[in-house]
Symmetry: C2
Subunit: 377 residues, 2 copies
């Protein structure tokens, strides 16, 4: 039987049952029709849609429809800068870049340095500020068009965000925040307020458009994010109606599993996650120590076969690193039949990750030149 799991914006615990989560959160699965429509707009398929890595949504059809009608739309995603960037962070960045191409629109990337400072006892404002700049480079390295990309560091862009956050905060009671986020008397007052700052960028594209032209139509926003962020945006969607903004649409990702099995990759446990700063040797070592679906001995694996469904190495290939659908199916089948052994599979994944990181880090170096002009101040 599956262990109990728990998913909040600040904690992911246990083996997540995504179907159950969709029911718990009251979201909808992405339909084949919706996936097809996005792929049509992008002019190419996405392994993240094909393989249901992005699997859940709210209001996705309304967003696609708005774009089809020629309305200006925008994307909004983000990161809590509590450490360096690992592969679990990169996956949604690369999908968001795919969405930018599909919808030909601006993307807003929020770094919640305020949140991480407020929620983590051991982080200083200097820490979260430093991680923000580093994280932003990894975001840009996914290939976003710098001219259409806006990096928001909350404490640096407070003049822009704080007034919008007030609009939200005025309309969210403590009672609601307590119910949605599980706060109690010991929660600090900054953490209680914070969700308002995460809501603000959902309305920002409309606000900025109206600064240029008072009569500009509202700009529908799609938020690609991991499903743990959904509670924030339930609040945002409720408030949007009261403020007469379009409700932001959402498209939710699963978590890239931890290399050692189980929960999502964690920015606070080094050995279970692969960082963009890891050397090829470190990658090989981490993948080498991964939890797999193999048997105790080579002989046994040849005889009984492996189980790709519980194998982290197979998961990494499925989630991200084997772009070719056919090759992936062949590989997983071979693994199941005992023809493909863990050692070979690990070597294959290691190569894939290392060549990906090499290119990613080259793009990251180039992004240093464009970062400044993408900052929203």
């Amino acid at each position: 039987m599956a262990k109990e799991f728990r998913v909040t914006p600040w904690e992911v615990r246990g083996n997540v049952d995504y179907d159950k989560l969709v029911r718990q959160f009251g979201t909808q699965h992405i339909t084949a029709e919706q996936a097809r429509e996005i792929e049509e707009l992008a002019g190419q398929r996405s392994r993240f849609l094909d393989r249901k890595i992005f699997f859940s949504q709210r209001g996705l059809s309304e967003f696609i429809e708005a774009h089809r009608k020629g309305k200006r739309v925008a994307l909004y995603t983000g990161r809590g800068p509590s450490g360096g960037t690992h592969l679990g962070h990169l996956m949604p960045y690369y999908f968001t870049k795919y969405l930018q191409d599909a919808f030909g629109c601006d993307v807003y990337y929020q770094l919640t340095d305020d949140e991480k400072y407020l929620f983590k006892d051991n982080l200083s404002r200097e820490d979260t500020a430093k991680y923000s700049l580093e994280n932003a480079l990894d975001f840009l390295a996914a290939g976003f068009d710098p001219a259409r990309t806006h990096v928001i560091i909350n404490t640096k862009a407070a003049n822009v965000l704080y007034p919008l956050a007030l609009d939200v905060a005025k309309r969210v009671t403590y009672s609601t925040a307590k119910a949605v986020f599980g706060f109690d008397d010991s929660t600090n007052i900054g953490s209680i307020f914070f969700t308002a700052m995460q809501s603000a960028p959902a309305f920002l594209p409309t606000v900025l458009a109206r600064e240029k032209n008072k009569k500009a139509p509202p700009v529908p926003v799609l938020i690609p994010c991991a499903i743990d962020q959904d509670p924030h945006f339930r609040v945002t969607r409720d408030v949007a109606e009261k403020l007469d903004y379009p409700k932001p649409s959402l498209i939710h990702a699963k978590f890239l599993p931890a290399l050692k099995g189980g929960e999502k990759m964690s920015a606070s446990d080094d050995s279970t996650s692969i960082y963009v700063t890891d050397t090829p040797k470190q990658v090989a070592k981490k993948v080498g120590g991964a939890f797999t679906g193999g048997q105790a001995t080579v002989e046994e694996q040849r005889a009984k076969g492996g189980n790709p469904d519980v194998c982290s190495v197979c998961a990494y290939l499925s989630y991200f690193f084997e772009p070719d659908n056919e090759k992936l199916t062949e590989r997983l089948d071979a693994y199941r039949r005992g023809e493909l052994l863990d050692g070979e599979n690990k070597a294959y994944l290691t190569d894939k990750i290392n060549s990906f990181l090499k290119e990613h880090n080259e793009r990251k170096e180039k992004a240093r030149k464009t970062l400044e002009k993408t900052l929203l101040c």
Copy 2:
């Protein structure tokens, strides 16, 4: 028997018993020695100290001592911009100007447009932004040195204030905020956070000094304010220690009574307050309708005398408009003996207010030129 009274940052109700409030809040009365020291530094007496209009304090001796030792110090005061400026607002401004002269230091003036928007259902952000600029002109009109005066409009200076507010908010639990301010489940999450924004300027002088010179010593701050603001600064003082800033010192004012008797002047009830924008005729009419300590008929007043202790007209002269201590005593005595009638007393006050407002408004016009350069952005 006195009615029950209630004093919070958002409500002043009933006839305030200031001695009881000092005990309730745990502040100290200003001593004769402290008043003398300030008057010595200012080189002139202050009717606000002589008459105990500013009557209570926290840590005042420490602040005076720091200044005497040659340390750089600063003043911080403010206003919630919920409407135009009335005489009740001006009184502490003029005393703060006196303190600026006494201590020869910078003054920070915070306009909490965020607070008023969050706490008042009927105010929009546009309203509080508009009032902020108007209120700032009335502050500057009290004669502050523009080169040493910094006007902080919270939503405009959020880039500076929000990071400091996070430092505070991280160290204040909901439990504390609930106990200090009486919040409950129906309070909005912005209101809960807000006190952190009101704390921030107490640390700003030190932060700005250290931006110029990392090793700059901390800058002790004195906060002149009406006593209803004390709960905010109790929180500030608690957090100051944790953040290694000096605890701000406080000097508290009584409320200028309402013209119709009883509670403090209210920015939301027009007839009971005199605004800087009132015409001489409006002032005469409002003073004419004031609650006095007189008797039902002229004959009765001549025979029995009036009671200056419950008379709004006498209060206005005592609090603000009769600068000469001897003249005031004579006048109140004559009133008590029935020699001075309400009509004469009202005419005297009307003249005093009108000539004061004429000069104030002339200085306000001039302040339009300096406002821009005093804004902290």
